[in-house]
């Protein structure tokens, strides 16, 4: 079975392509890429309408699929469904499940559920420490063998500098990054919002930006000491970005990601339009304008490596409580592409090729998986994007099990047209006319 994608603008930064190319998919791989490829008898030609963009499959390396243990929030099946609707062909899922993904049994279970769902690819991330308790290293070699692509104690930082040092040393055997949730616990305290005028006026306990940057500085110093790979997750504070720039300049092996809400929203969203909206509560918190603008600048100047959503589904019941009692987190998979188009590409922050690096090329490189490329012989993981599609975010009709998004009702320009995983079309957006995938 062969399919030839014809038309549209192909953007494949890894192979230096940007223009009109044909892509021949044979089975689950990309067989050929070129201009005006010949068509033989058993090839179906799929015409991509003008204006659409064909890119290597998008990869979200920071997702909470909640399974096992919190299936009321999300499952591997619903989470990967949300992923493909959001244009992602692969997600990497965080280990803070119940039980924690700190052993091969849990990893294998997640992969089994992913195989059954048969939507997006799932790359499990294992725990740094057993039970994420911050005491003893998890069996990282076993996790690697079972299919984990990175380790993290996400939800909390790696507890001590010594344990972080050991993790950064040990993972080098497997060439795996340690993904760090940067947070200095005593500075976080029981804070629930960014420490600043908004928190002061609303009477909410604050978390300063330094809570994040101090831990990032520790980890970057340890990456330099050990030569290990550290990836700073969900960066929110301008000081953290400065720390990453400093580390990169010194040659430390540090990469970083930022989530759409941190380059779009500020802590003013907590006060308005809905005061104390728990869908504006996440960790790290929405920060102030200077931080938000610093994230945009870091995206534009190349300091930021990856955009990842920190998709953190929570049940309505859990969020329908007092602000300080609500869990941290918002969903992100189904809004990311539209937000990036609207706030980055159309706003002139980055061009489309750079966006594809942020959403596909760099994520694949950092977690060391195939993907991020439309090279001949690569897996046929392809996202078809509609840069000018008019999109209205409607939380209630999202396919994720949870609807906790602060973007409900937003109208955005740009969206997803179709998602192809391993040569198979797993999502087609009915709102995009003329697409017969």
């Amino acid at each position: 079975m062969k399919r030839l994608l014809k038309g549209g603008r192909v953007i494949d930064p890894a192979n230096g392509r940007d223009g009109a190319f044909d892509i021949l998919i044979e089975g689950d791989v990309i067989a050929r890429v070129g201009r005006d490829l010949p068509v033989d008898g058993d090839t179906t030609v799929v015409q991509i309408p003008a204006g659409l963009v064909v890119t290597p499959g998008l990869i979200d390396i920071h997702v909470h699929l909640r399974e096992p243990g919190q299936e009321h929030k999300e499952t591997v099946a619903t989470g990967t469904h949300a992923a493909v609707v959001g244009g992602f062909t692969a997600v990497a899922c965080m280990p803070n499940t119940s039980p924690v993904n700190d052993n091969a049994g849990v990893t294998e279970y997640i992969l089994k559920q992913a195989k059954a769902a048969n939507l997006a690819r799932v790359y499990p991330i294992g725990a740094v420490s057993r039970g994420q308790n911050g005491e003893q290293l998890a069996d990282i070699g076993e996790l690697r063998a079972a299919g984990c692509v990175a380790v993290t104690d996400d939800g909390r930082p790696v507890a001590t500098a010594l344990l972080m040092r050991r993790a950064l040393e040990y993972t080098q055997m497997f060439n795996m990054p340690v993904i760090e949730h940067c947070e200095e616990p005593s500075l976080k305290g029981d804070g629930v919002a960014h420490e600043g005028l908004q928190a002061s006026a609303l009477g909410l306990k604050g978390i300063p930006g330094e809570c994040e940057s101090i831990m990032a500085q520790r980890d970057i110093a340890l990456a330099e000491l050990t030569g290990g790979l550290v990836h700073i997750a969900h960066m929110s504070a301008r000081q953290t970005l400065d720390a990453v720039r400093y580390g990169k300049a010194r040659g430390a092996r540090v990469t970083c990601e930022v989530a759409p809400h941190h380059f779009i929203l500020t802590d003013e969203r907590i006060g308005a339009p809905v005061p104390y909206d728990t869908n504006a509560k996440m960790n790290p918190p929405l920060r102030e304008t200077a931080d938000r603008d610093a994230m945009l600048k870091g995206i534009a100047d190349g300091s930021v490596d990856v955009i990842a959503t920190d998709h953190a589904p929570h049940h309505l019941d859990e969020k329908h409580v007092e602000f300080d009692r609500a869990p941290f987190g918002i969903t992100g998979l189904e809004t990311c592409v539209s937000l990036c188009f609207d706030r980055l590409v159309h706003a002139g922050v980055v061009g489309l090729p750079r966006l594809i690096e942020l959403l596909s090329v760099n994520p694949a490189r950092i977690i060391g998986v195939r993907g991020g490329s439309l090279a001949e012989g690569a897996p046929a993981d392809i996202s078809v994007l509609a840069p000018d599609l008019a999109v209205t975010v409607h939380a209630a009709s999202m396919v994720s099990k949870s609807k906790n998004t602060p973007f409900d009702g937003w109208t955005l320009r740009g969206g997803v047209a179709a998602t192809i995983v391993g040569g198979r079309t797993v999502y087609v957006n009915a709102a995009v006319p003329g697409l017969a995938l």
């Binding site: 005028l197 909410l204 104390y276 602000f323």
Partner: protein, 309 residues
């Protein structure tokens, strides 16, 4: 007035004055031999208190009874909250019984906003977390006005634990709205970030804050703040910020000393100041009833009644 009183931000300048003017008439009711009027007859008011409170709860209850409302007190220890019911569920259950007003005291900032989104009943914030305590600020303004005639142009110094105080936030909003010059003072560990942007002057020198002040408002210092390393000891706190007779002399000779209670004598305020000639602390308590009567009356439709009359 808006449907609810969630914070001072809900009130315009004119509405604040309307509450204060109405409270004058309400205070007069409290001085009669029969301290009861039929104004809120047939109205149901629920006092929903998730935090211990003597003064505020009693004050609301007396205010409601003087206006002939049917009142119902729900305290946390006796309610199903202990069984794990959420605030939203409690609110929906109360709402099903159609009370006219709910007075809420809760440890979480913004709890009243949650209730307001669920309930058609009018919500009065009787203190939510570290956010606001609007009726306290209104009764403070009423008390200041009694002594100083006007609030505009007065120097008001607020001293103590600024960070955790809802009384501070409501008073800053109200007093700046009415044109007072507001100074706040406390150890830097207890000053909320960015509070200058609310239009107040911040000084860690209590002497500078209270110099030539017309009003000194003391805030309670909670003992447990020492565990959070906000300050080393109550003794040192009193030395640096405690309101003593010597310090009071720095203020204007006719300064009034206020405290929302409960007081820690010898921690934030010396007994001879609390009980001294400048103290209006018990007047505040007395005025609390009148001001809450005014709020209840105006929220229950006092304005419409006037229009109809």
């Amino acid at each position: 007035m808006k449907k609810d009183l969630l914070g001072i931000g809900d009130l315009t300048r004119d509405e604040i004055y309307r509450v204060l003017d109405t409270a004058v008439a309400m205070r007069e009711i409290g001085e009669r031999p029969i301290k009861k009027v039929p104004t809120l007859r047939g109205k149901t008011v629920v006092n929903l208190f998730y935090e211990a409170s003597t003064r505020t709860r009693t004050s609301f209850e007396i205010a409601e009874k003087r206006l002939s409302a049917d009142t119902l007190n729900i305290a946390v220890s006796t309610s199903s909250v202990q069984k794990g019911e959420t605030l939203a569920d409690t609110a929906m259950n109360l709402e099903a019984m159609s009370p006219d007003m709910i007075v809420l005291r809760h440890a979480s900032s913004g709890a009243c906003h949650l209730l307001s989104r669920i309930c058609k009943s009018r919500i009065i914030n009787a203190g939510d977390g570290m956010h606001e305590h609007p009726t306290q600020a209104l009764l403070d303004a009423f008390t200041i006005r009694q002594h100083k005639k006007t609030i505009e142009g007065l120097k008001v110094a607020i001293v103590g634990d600024l960070l955790h105080s809802r009384v501070l936030r409501s008073n800053v909003l109200l007093l700046t709205k009415l044109g007072a010059e507001v100074w706040v003072s406390g150890p830097p560990t207890l000053v909320p970030r960015g509070i200058q942007q609310l239009g107040v002057k911040v000084s860690t020198s209590v002497e500078a804050a209270i110099a030539d002040a017309d009003v000194i408002m003391m805030l309670r210092i909670q003992q447990e703040r020492m565990q959070g390393a906000y300050f080393p000891s109550l003794r040192e706190y009193f030395q640096l910020f405690g309101m003593t007779r010597e310090r009071v002399r720095l203020a204007r000779p006719d300064v009034i000393i206020m405290h929302p209670g409960p007081m820690n004598r010898g921690v934030e305020i010396a007994s001879d100041v609390a009980d001294g000639p400048h103290s209006v602390i018990l007047e505040q308590v007395a005025n609390g009833v009148a001001v809450r009567m005014a709020v209840l009356y105006l929220l229950a439709g006092g304005v419409e009644d006037e229009a109809a009359a």
